[in-house]
């Protein structure tokens, strides 16, 4: 990994500050198996919960008989839709999903009843014993039919520029992206503990405890102060933990029984218990002039939201806003639909709409390059968006650094290094003559917004306190594995000037929202709050004591410590800051406006070896250049890049939930394939640092960009190797060999 800084970087003046790569504070506990995940929680007198789920994608519930379940020894409660004390529906953006299905089930695996029993086995037996009589209905699973019959959660229409503009070179294409699963290793899990006064404390897997708490309060019919949602140990997230699943159920069972209740989904439940990446159908028409400059882009995009809204509206909007990619174009028409079907609900996954369209627009750019006889990178360079340009879709002027050209030139300059050992496609199972294995190289560039868009009031609160142990950052921002606990401590050190800092997660009653750990936003937004709080605290302390510096020893004046740290720590210093990113606005009827707060770009070059006879692919290496603003913790940035690329590789060649009339055919790790260490390509990463974004020290979010274009680059490389016009991700053996 190398870093190219084109503006002066920050020099950390404190050990463990910004720009260094201090070790994770939770690393040792995780390496020793001592870190407590939500699935490890226990409580005195705890019951276990389990869920009765619909075996049909679409059915009418004729009757529910809970008596057989209640008759099992050790069962304390069996609850159905009739027992939901408050609002019957929940939802992240629109409450449209029943807490428990009462009359109709709309997707396979939808919860119908919940039970609490003295142990897990009994709870699961009881859940299976709930007798539900269904009348099976025809599942409605075709997104195109949903679009044509107006079964949609949202439509998007974007029109910009002269709609009559025409180019001299035209390419058209249809593209498809399958349904990917986040597959975090930690299952959905939680523990709800009644407080004895009608309220409840919830410790559960989450990416956003404040929005969980609001939904739990509504469905339990309680006052806000009666529900406290606590950050719990998370085994990965990638978008899967934005929506509620077991949260309201656990609180209902705990309040009903008066006992703590724990629930852990098994893997197949996990596949139905969280939303997935939207599958997409995309029709594109690109027109360019003879020099390869884009003249017009038309796109029609359908993403299938499945049975309930989740974040479909926002994912669709993102897909449409980034439908042209990081390129200039003065004539654009995009029509999008987020459809409602009886497929599993889809919502947030790393990349959030920008991934799907990248598969399409980058294939179009390659087709144009081929027609024009241009190198694929030169084609992109001629259209590269830059600071001061307008986003082709929304017309928003890009005001923060956007080094698209730098990304392209960096990729062009990186040598293709042959890895020490490259397994051939199929590994030891290769039956093809090695001479028949074809090498291919493909490129893709992706762009995405950072933080929440469309006028959402996107903020985070953080508190920094000075204690005898150093700085303490208090936050409700969720650590999902990305290293927020490390970077917030670094920012506190750099802001305050002391070398000891820890992050303490607090519950919803102790601090205001940090917003969601999603949209690549926490380093910028909770990080921004932490840095500002620490910096202000430093200024206040120095002012109060008329000093000129503050460090681990205390306040200094003229080269002498005038207030030692042990005295300072007793003075109760704290500062709380709520940080907001620059305001955005909702789009107008034609999709125009200042919709986004910031952007990031990354590019990937994939090298693949393809067994064209069996249709097997080995991804040899993926090299990348990424716009990071400022790498606050370079090692963690590299971890995001390598991990994000591998999820992109997964979507390119193996990861797809296979649907069979609304039923997931492969809800387990045997049949839903995830990349192993043998599937992981070598990665060379170049970090591009340019100051000017509003994140702390100019940092941009880095979690999503690695996933946006890595899929598309691998698909392009497979096209290059095979010469086939492959138009889908994942690329299946039959797409290559048949």
């Amino acid at each position: 990994m190398t870093t190219r800084t084109t503006t002066p970087g920050v020099q950390s003046r404190v050990i463990g500050g910004v720009g260094e790569s201090p070790l994770r504070p939770d690393g040792i506990a995780k390496l020793k198996g001592e870190f407590e995940y939500a699935s490890d929680l226990v409580s005195e007198g705890m019951l276990w919960g389990a869920t009765t789920r619909s075996p049909y994608a679409h059915a009418r519930i004729v009757s529910i008989d809970i008596a057989p379940a209640l008759a099992i020894g050790g069962v304390h409660a069996v609850l159905t839709a009739d027992d939901v004390p408050g609002r019957a529906l929940f939802g992240l953006e629109h409450p449209d999903q029943p807490v428990l299905a009462g009359e109709v089930t709309r997707y396979w695996g939808e919860p119908v009843a919940i039970v609490a029993a003295e142990d897990e086995d009994t709870a699961r037996r009881a859940a299976a014993a709930v007798k539900v009589e269904y009348e099976e209905l025809e599942p409605f699973v075709d997104p195109e039919e949903a679009d044509s019959t107006d079964a949609v959660f949202r439509r998007m229409k974007i029109r910009r520029g002269d709609q009559e503009a025409r180019g001299t070179v035209v390419v058209e294409g249809f593209y498809e992206v399958g349904m990917q699963d986040q597959a975090p290793l930690g299952p959905e899990a939680g523990l709800a503990v009644p407080d004895g006064h009608g309220g409840v404390d919830l410790y559960a897997t989450s990416q956003f405890v404040h929005v969980d708490q609001e939904q739990v309060v509504a469905s339990l019919g309680l006052r806000p102060d009666q529900v406290r949602s606590h950050p719990a140990g998370i085994g990965g997230a990638f978008g899967a933990r934005e929506d509620l699943n077991l949260h309201i159920h656990l609180c209902m069972l705990a309040l009903h029984t008066g006992q703590p209740v724990k629930m852990v989904y098994d893997r197949s439940e996990s596949f139905t218990g969280h939303v997935h990446r939207h599958p997409a159908l995309m029709w594109y028409r690109h027109e360019a002039d003879d020099e390869g400059r884009l003249v017009r882009v038309e796109a029609r995009i359908i993403i299938d939201g499945g049975a309930y809204a989740s974040t479909t509206s926002a994912v669709l909007a993102n897909a449409c806003y980034f439908a042209v990619g990081p390129y200039r174009c003065e004539s654009v028409a995009v029509d999008g639909a987020g459809t409602r079907t009886n497929n599993p609900p889809c919502g947030a996954m790393r990349g959030f709409g920008a991934v799907q369209v990248c598969v399409a627009y980058e294939a179009q750019m390659d087709q144009l390059a081929t027609k024009l006889g241009l190198d694929p990178l030169e084609m992109r360079r001629r259209n590269a968006l830059a600071t001061g340009d307008v986003l082709a879709t929304t017309g928003q002027v890009i005001e923060t650094p956007l080094p698209v050209v730098d990304v392209i030139d960096s990729l062009a300059a990186m040598p293709i290094v042959e890895p020490d050992s490259t397994p051939l496609p199929g590994g030891s199972g290769l039956t093809t003559e090695p001479g028949q294995v074809k090498r291919g190289v493909g490129y893709a560039i992706g762009i995405k917004n950072l933080g929440f868009s469309e006028g959402f009031d996107d903020y985070a609160q953080a508190r920094v306190r000075l204690t005898a142990g150093g700085a303490v950052v208090e936050t409700a921002a969720i650590e999902v594995g990305q290293g927020l606990v490390t970077v917030l401590a670094q920012l506190a050190r750099s802001g305050l000037g002391v070398s000891r800092a820890v992050v303490r997660h607090v519950d919803t009653s102790q601090i205001d929202s940090a917003g969601s750990t999603s949209a690549s936003r926490q380093t910028q937004i909770s990080g921004g709050a932490t840095l500002e709080a620490a910096t202000r605290l430093r200024e206040r302390i120095i002012d109060r004591h008329e000093g000129d510096d503050l460090d681990d020893e205390g306040v200094w004046r003229h080269g002498e410590v005038v207030v030692p740290m042990e005295v300072l720590a007793g003075e109760g210093w704290e500062e709380t800051v709520t940080f907001r990113h620059p305001a955005t606005e909702a789009p107008d009827e034609e999709g125009q406006g200042v919709v986004h707060a910031d952007f990031a770009v990354a590019g990937h070059r994939a090298v693949v070896d393809v067994d064209v006879e069996l249709g097997l692919v080995s991804v040899v290496r993926v090299d990348t250049a990424q716009d990071v603003g400022k790498a606050l913790h370079p090692e963690a940035v590299r971890g995001q890049i390598e991990g994000g690329i591998l999820q992109g590789v997964g979507l390119a060649v193996m990861e797809e939930l296979v649907m069979n009339d609304g039923v997931i055919a492969n809800p387990n790790f045997t049949d839903y394939l995830l990349p192993t260490i043998l599937d992981a390509p070598d990665v060379e990463a170049l970090l591009i640092e340019q100051d000017g974004s509003w994140g702390p020290f100019g940092a941009k979010g880095v979690g999503e960009p690695p996933t946006i274009s890595s899929t598309s680059a691998v698909v392009a490389a497979i096209r290059d190797a095979t010469g086939k016009a492959i138009n889908r991700a994942p690329v299946r053996p039959q797409d290559i060999a048949l």
């Binding site: 020793k32 198996g33 930690g186 990965g236 991990g643 045997t670 043998l678």
Partner: protein
Amino acid sequence: MIVEFTLNGAPANARVEKPLSLLDLLHDDLGLPGSKAACEQGECGSCSVILDGELVCSCLVLAADVQGSEVTTVEGVARGDVLNGVQQAMHEAGAVQCGFCTPGIVVAATELFERNPNPEATEIKEALAGNICRCTGYGAIVRALELLAGPR
């Protein structure tokens, strides 16, 4: 039945009255939460333990079958508070993110380094092929273990 076995070097026993997996016995009954349940069908390696010298997925082993055996879990690979070489190398290389796969990878890599202290990159990858990590892309894990293996 009462199952008696050696757990992390010390005698252990547990009452097993149903078809319980070794994973559930360790995690739920014996208070050793390090072995993780992520797929419970032997695909992800998060529950890896060493059973009589062999690396196994504890979700696929019946608890009753460990009678008289030696079991080493992630809790048993460090010496008290001192991390073993695999753990220390992974810590320093930034090879831990969410950490849910980490115990299984520590156990699998520890088993590899016990039988082969200087593995090549291909041997490291082969040894960890049964452990799924969803966060890191494996890069930092490979770097950590290559460093530990030292120059060849």
